[in-house]
Structures are given as C-alpha cells and as structure tokens.
Symmetry: C2
Subunit: 221 residues, 2 copies
C-alpha cells in the first residue's frame, strides 16, 4: 500500500521545512505547520523512519530520504496542478484554491495526473508563481529576489509570493498587484523600510516592509 494521506502531509511538510532547515527539520516546526502536538509528531517520525521515508535520529531532527522526497514532490506536483486547473478553468481566484487543492492532492491516480497536466498544457508555474515539479519530480529552483531588494527607480515583475495566506493574496489583488504585474519602485523610506511603488496605471502606493519582503520579483532586463 502507498503512504496514507497523513503520511503524505508529513512528508510534504518536511520537504518544505527542509528548505529553511537543511541540516534537519525540528519536530516542533512540523507540529506548528500541521497543527499537531509534539508527541503526535514524534510518533509519526518514528513510523516514517521505519518505512525509510526519512532519516530520523532521536533529538536530532529529520531529513527526507530519496523515496520520501519523491513522494513529497508528487504531492506538491498534484497540489499545484490542481490549483492551476481551478484558477484557469473553474473561475477561482488565487486566494480560493489552496484548501481545495489540499484535498485534491491526495487523489490517487497516475493517469488522472497525466491527463490533468496535459489538459493544462504542461504548466511550469502555479497561480502563486510556485514551480510545478514535472512527472519525474524535477522542479526548477527559483531565485529569491523579493521586492524589498529592488532599488529606488528600478522596475521588476511580480513572479510569486512567499506568504500564501488568503488575507495577503486578497490584499495584493485589491491593490492590483497580481502575477506578471510590472512594479516600479518610486521611493524607499529608510525609517521603516517601506517603499512607494507604481504598478500599471494605478496611483502610487506605499507598501510596508512586511508586504514587500513577501513579494517575489524578477528584475527587468
């Protein structure tokens, strides 16, 4: 039998956390992400270790095995393909699809994923700008320039977000900062690191550091 839905969720969480904790993911951070108490996580880590999905040494933190990473990437692939589907074909907004994709990502059918990918035209990025792993689990690594790193007078294109919360996404949408939007940094306020930007033909707007550092951009040229 394949991994349970619960096991899949753990592996996906460990995969994501390992990008910030490459030397080993902490029990606590897994629990925080999945809303589970530490003992629950400890139990599961032992089990995932037994199944060789993770390398687990008590009190040390965990890393994925190749098999564990393969499973995590498969789930992430399905999640992002379904999000793309919902936005591109079912008229959902980018802030509405995550919870539904959390369910759809566990549907078990290789053929379905194939057809979904084909139906969408083999997309490379999801509605939040996150790269979609291909059928072999290959994922394009993404540069990590955020809007706060752009200097006064320079232009950049919004290519992703670091915060996926409904609140943040709705806020960006409300000020017309969506994927592929070109943004010009008009001014940088040293006092609080906020910036003044102009996007499209909207009026100038001030963005807090908290906002700008959660916006992933690509420099123009």
């Amino acid at each position: 039998m394949g991994p349970s839905k619960t096991e899949e969720d753990y592996l996906k969480a460990i995969y994501k956390l390992s990008k910030v904790q490459p030397k080993g993911v902490a029990t606590k951070s897994i629990g925080d992400l999945l809303n589970l108490k530490p003992p629950t996580v400890s139990d599961m880590l032992r089990k995932l270790g037994d199944k060789k999905f993770i390398k687990y040494a008590k009190y040390k933190g965990v890393t994925l095995t190749n098999e564990g990473e393969r499973i995590a990437l498969k789930i992430i692939r399905k999640h992002r393909l379904w999000e793309t589907f919902l936005v591109d074909h079912f008229k959902f907004k980018w802030d509405e699809v995550h919870d539904i994709a959390e369910q759809l990502e566990h549907i078990d059918s290789a053929r379905l994923v194939e057809r979904l990918d084909e139906f969408l035209g083999f997309p490379k990025f999801d509605p939040h700008g996150d790269p979609i792993p291909d059928k072999d689990g290959v994922i394009v690594p993404r540069h990590d320039i955020t809007l706060d790193q752009i200097k006064k007078g320079q232009k950049a294109v919004l290519v992703g977000v670091k915060d996926h919360s409904t609140e943040f996404l709705k806020y960006l949408e409300s000020i017309s900062l969506t994927l592929d939007t070109e943004v010009k940094v008009i001014n940088v306020i040293n006092y609080d690191k906020s910036i003044v930007v102009k996007a499209g033909n909207h009026s100038e707007r001030n963005l807090s550091f908290q906002v700008s550092k959660n916006i992933i951009v690509q420099r123009n040229q």
Copy 2:
C-alpha cells in the same frame, strides 16, 4: 463536522440498496457491497442511527432519514458529475472513471461542485446513463425497460447500463454498444432467452440474456 468519508460511503450504499429493499436494507447486503464484515456494519449502523442519518431498529434493517438521503444524494451527485467531467474533458473511457470518482466524490467544497456543474453545462446524465441529482438533490426517476423486454422487430436506444463493472462496459464498447446507440432486435431465441441484434451498420450479433437484461433502453417512438 460533516459526515466522515466512511459514513458517506455507508449512506450511499444504503441509498442504492433501498431501491431494491425498500422495506429496510439488510446488514449483510451493506457488508457485501462495501466489503465489510457484518459486525463492522452493525457498529456503524448504531452510530448512524445515533446521528439520525438512518432509522435503525435491531434485527429489522435500516432506512435513511431525510437528512441521510440528502447526504447520499449529494455524494451521488458529485460522483456522477466527476465521471461526466473525466469522460467529457479528460479523455477517459466510461469503464475507467468509476474508481477515480469514488475518491473525488468525497472532496468537500460546495463551490467546487457548483463550478463543476456549470463547467459541464448542468448535465442530466452521467457517462453510464445514470441521472445526476440537481443541487437540491432532485433526481429524475428512470424507467426500467431493459433490452430483453424488446420484442422481435422493434428498435430501441441504449440509454444506460445496470452493471457498471469494467468487464461489462469494455465488452459493450468492444461490440459498439455505447450510450445513445440504436439497436434493432432481429430475433429472440426462446431456448436461452438470447437475442440477435443489429446496431448501427455492424453485422448481426447474438447477446445472452445476462447481457440484454443489464442494458437499459428506451423504445423508439
């Protein structure tokens, strides 16, 4: 919280069985359908009774309450909408979609079902000719004329199947007997109740009683 996936499966099973056992569905038949042992079913029936999804009197058999039927119809609606989606938009054959729909029917999002229904153009029947309950759970009752009831010389149109097994569906497909196909009964063999039919511009073919009684038709004119 809503009903669990397991509870939904029981209610759907009871709904289907109640069409054949209207005075009360037997524990054994539920177990047979869901591949569960009788004690497992007894346990769950007590629980479903406590939750007022079914009327349960020990040793008597069960019937759905209005609430239980509402839930069952919601699951059946989702199952049939997803099957329609997979066949009409993802290039699946009618014998390939049931198992995937068994998973998709449990995805919990009213908005998703709405958009799916809209995307499909509010279909009334699924790829097997089964009627799709509307958003209020209203389902058009289907007449029950099967191909074995058609007399020699008469024509009928294939509008559904009673057996949904992959084997049966693949067999029908292989002899070009698919939904909306017009069939003429050329001869009836009294000895074994088999019939000789002609469909489209294919040559005449003999169908066993077992096959003909699993094909739902509509008389021509």
